[in-house]
Every structure is written in C-alpha cells, then in structure tokens.
C-alpha cells in the first residue's frame, strides 16, 4: 500500500504500523472511539515530510483509508436513541440533562486522576512474591484438592490456535478508483468547456467523490482548471483555464 503501509504510529491506545491498526480496528480489538485520528494524520504528515516526496497514489490511498475510518468513527459517535430524545426536549430540560451527564463524567475523571496519583505514590512499596519454602510447599501439596477445571486450559489453548481472520480491506477502498482515472474523466468533461462538480460525480460513491475532488485540486495545481461557487453550499462550476481548457497528457504518475 505504498507510503501508508510504512507508517509507524505511536498513539495513546496503539503502537505499531498503520496496517495493523486497521486490522485491529476491523477485528474490534482496538476501539476506534479511543483512537485519535488527528494524531494518525499528523503522524502521516511527518512521515511524508521525512520521505521528502509526495507520491500521489500513495497519498490518495491514505486519504481514502483515513476517510473510511473517520466515517466509521462518526457513525459510532452518532447520537444513540437517548440522545435523539434530547432534541425533543425544551432547551432548559436538555441543558439540565446534559449538565447532569457532564457532572457525572467529570466526577469520575476526578476520581481517575486520584487513582493515578495514588498508584504513583505507591511506587516505592513493593511486595514480596516468592514460592513457599520447600517444606511448606510439600505440606501445601498434601492439602490440595481440585479447584480448577482442566477444560479451562483446553479452551484457552483453542483460542490461541485461532489465526486472525484474513483481513479484507476491500470494502474500505472499493470500488477502487485512481486519481489517474478521475483526472481523465475531468479532462474529458473539460473538452466541452464547463461543467458542474455535481455532474462530474453524479451517482458516484463517497470514495469516488473524494478522489475526484483530489483530481480537481491536481488540475488546479497544473493550471488546467479553476472553479467558482456563487453561494455557500451552492453548485461548484468548473471551467478550463483560458485556452488550456483542453490539455493533453496525464499529469499524474
């Protein structure tokens, strides 16, 4: 996966390669809600900077993956049923409800800080862990009776034999669409002069929209196209720049 695969992360909840983070998130072994995606993006920017080159394909790949993660995370964070009910409340009631929740969360954040301090203060006290002296061990063996079920060991070993399912990321990046393809598509449309961005991505899935936007930025950078938008959230009209409306060749690698 190019540059994204080489990305090493050191986050609060996870340390290791970006690929592995994806795997763990998909297997729900790392909780996406606990992953700070902004940190992932920052790490990626550092990574790009260290490489000193921008591989457009690799960058798109990363954008698509991080966009998919963001989407997944935002869905997880969407208000649950009880939050939806909050919208039906009068502002006063909603404020009271929110206040109660904030106070509760804050209370346990305070308690958490206290526990962390307490643990740190205990640093210097260590307890002894040692097997019993031989003569007492013998004695304790004589008094032992069955306390555990051997099946517990079999179950544990069976779990350890389970190889992680082959992780299929296709649903994250599919349908695969490259910046190159979208560049060609936009140039085709530019041959006819001007077009609206909505037309350019009509019927396309989100990933394709994202990649198309990326391709459009590339065209702008190359000086092939520009755009205007009359009103916020209005239609984006794209047109060729001057005579160069019909540019030939592929700019992207």
């Amino acid at each position: 996966m190019g540059a994204a695969a080489e990305l090493e992360l050191d986050l609060d909840v996870f340390t290791g390669p970006f690929d592995l983070l994806l795997t763990l998130v998909l297997r729900e072994e790392v909780d996406l809600l606990e992953v700070d995606l902004a940190d992932v993006v920052l790490a990626y920017l550092d990574h790009l900077e260290a490489r000193g080159e921008l591989d457009l394909e690799a960058a798109t790949e990363f954008l698509v993956l991080i966009a998919a993660l963001l989407e997944l995370k935002s869905r997880l964070m969407l208000p649950r049923e009880e939050d939806a009910r909050l919208d039906d409340l009068e502002p006063e009631q909603a404020a009271e409800e929110l206040l109660a929740r904030m106070l509760e969360a804050r209370r346990y954040r305070g308690a958490a800080a206290h526990l962390r301090e307490r643990l740190a203060a205990e640093e210097g006290h260590r307890y002894r862990t040692a097997p019993l002296p031989r003569e007492l061990r013998r004695h304790s063996l004589d008094h032992a009776v069955q306390a555990y079920d051997p099946a517990r060991l079999g179950v544990a070993l069976g779990e350890l034999l389970r190889t992680p399912p082959h992780v299929d990321l296709r649903h994250l990046v599919a349908p695969r669409v490259s910046v190159g393809e979208r560049l060609a598509h936009l140039r085709e449309l530019l041959r006819c002069g001007r077009f609206s961005f909505d037309d350019a991505v009509r019927g396309a899935d989100r990933v394709t929209v994202a990649v198309t936007l990326f391709a459009l930025l590339e065209l702008y950078k190359q000086g092939e196209a520009t755009w205007s938008q009359e009103v916020p959230f209005g239609a984006v009209e794209v047109r060729g720049r001057g005579e160069a409306g019909v540019a030939a060749g592929r700019a992207a690698p």
Binding site: L99, M102, A105, R107, Y108, A111, H114, R116, E123
Partner: protein
C-alpha cells in the same frame, strides 16, 4: 520483639497475600485482640527505621519494602514496575471502583465513549474481574484484592467521597448557564436554517 511478634513477622513474610488479624489469630492459636495489640505495637515501634514497612492493605496486614530502597530495587530486579494506567483505563477503573458491580454499557454511558479495550486491559492486569451478569445479561465488573493492594487501600471505604470532584454551586450555575445559552443558540440556528 516478643515471641508472638516474631511469629507474626515470619507469617507475614511467608504469606503472599495480606493476612487478617483473625487468620493470624487462628494460625497462632491465640485471641484476635492479642494479635491486634502485637501488630499495632510492631507498626508503631519495631518497624521504625527498618527496610520493611508493616501495612494494612486489602483487608489484612502485609510486609512491603520501604520506598528508600526503590532505586536499588529497580536496578536489582529485572521485573518491571506495574506500568501506569492510561487515562481511559484510569477512568474505567474509577467507575468500577465507585459503582461496583457495574456493567460495561453503564461505564460507556458515563464515559461517553466505549470502554471495550480499557476494560479488557484492566481484566488482563487483574485489577478488575467479572462479577456475574446484570438482569439484562450484561457482564458486571468489580475490583479485585490486587487492586486494593496495588493502590495501598485497606478497603474500598478508604476511597475518598466521589462528591469531592463535583464543582462548587457557583461553577455549577455557570456551567448550567453556558449550556442553556448554547442550547438556545442551537435551536435558533435550526429555525433560521429551516426558514
């Protein structure tokens, strides 16, 4: 040291877990108050200026090293210290400690985010354990004796009152006011947007 105190010291040295005065009394075949008097005297006098301290933790008495030796202990023992808790783990542990038995969905509701991986690592570290199921079938959690021991608590009742982290009435009024304003601004925006 009296002979009784010598025996008590030896028993605490041998026992991997904290031992209550009652257990000591049974083993020593004397009365619990006599053991308690011996322990209190030891804690006050015999362990003064020693390398070991006598502590009351997790419902019993236990010997531990004095912090004076911590740097040297770190060098001598390859065994790493218990790693500190991450913020997510500490919050989850605090909720379990104060509200036990408490279910995972309840923890998630209070924290506002899922508690899945934090609860998993607390289980793995032996600080919390499962305590049956709630009436809706969710796994319940409680803290363990190891939790008390590692946090230097003799019992859960020693945790400070959780209300001490609540804001004072003025701060609370200020928070309420800000929330109310934000709520009004939001519903205003929705109406304007719909118009």
């Amino acid at each position: 040291m009296t002979d009784l105190q010598r025996r008590v010291e030896a028993l605490l040295f041998l026992s991997p877990d904290p031992v209550s005065a009652d257990e000591l009394a049974d083993a020593l075949e004397i009365s619990a108050p006599a053991v308690e008097r011996a322990l209190e005297d030891m804690a006050e006098r015999q362990f003064e200026g020693r390398g070991l301290v006598l502590r009351e933790v997790a419902g019993g008495w236990s010997l531990a090293s004095d912090p004076i030796a911590e740097d040297a202990a770190r060098r001598l023992l390859a065994r790493p210290r218990t790693p500190p808790l991450t913020p997510a783990q500490a919050e989850t542990l605090a909720i379990v400690a104060y509200l036990q038995p408490v279910s995972r969905p309840e923890i998630a509701r209070i924290r506002g985010v899922s508690a899945e991986s934090a609860a998993g690592s607390l289980l793995e570290r032996g600080l919390v354990e499962e305590a049956g199921r709630s009436q809706f079938g969710a796994v319940l959690y409680r803290t363990t004796a190891l939790f008390l021991k590692l946090f230097g608590l003799s019992e859960l009742g020693e945790l400070p009152d959780v209300a001490r982290w609540d804001p004072d009435p003025e701060q609370e009024a200020e928070l309420r006011h800000r929330l109310l304003r934000a709520g009004e601004a939001r519903s205003g925006a929705i109406e304007a947007g719909a118009a």
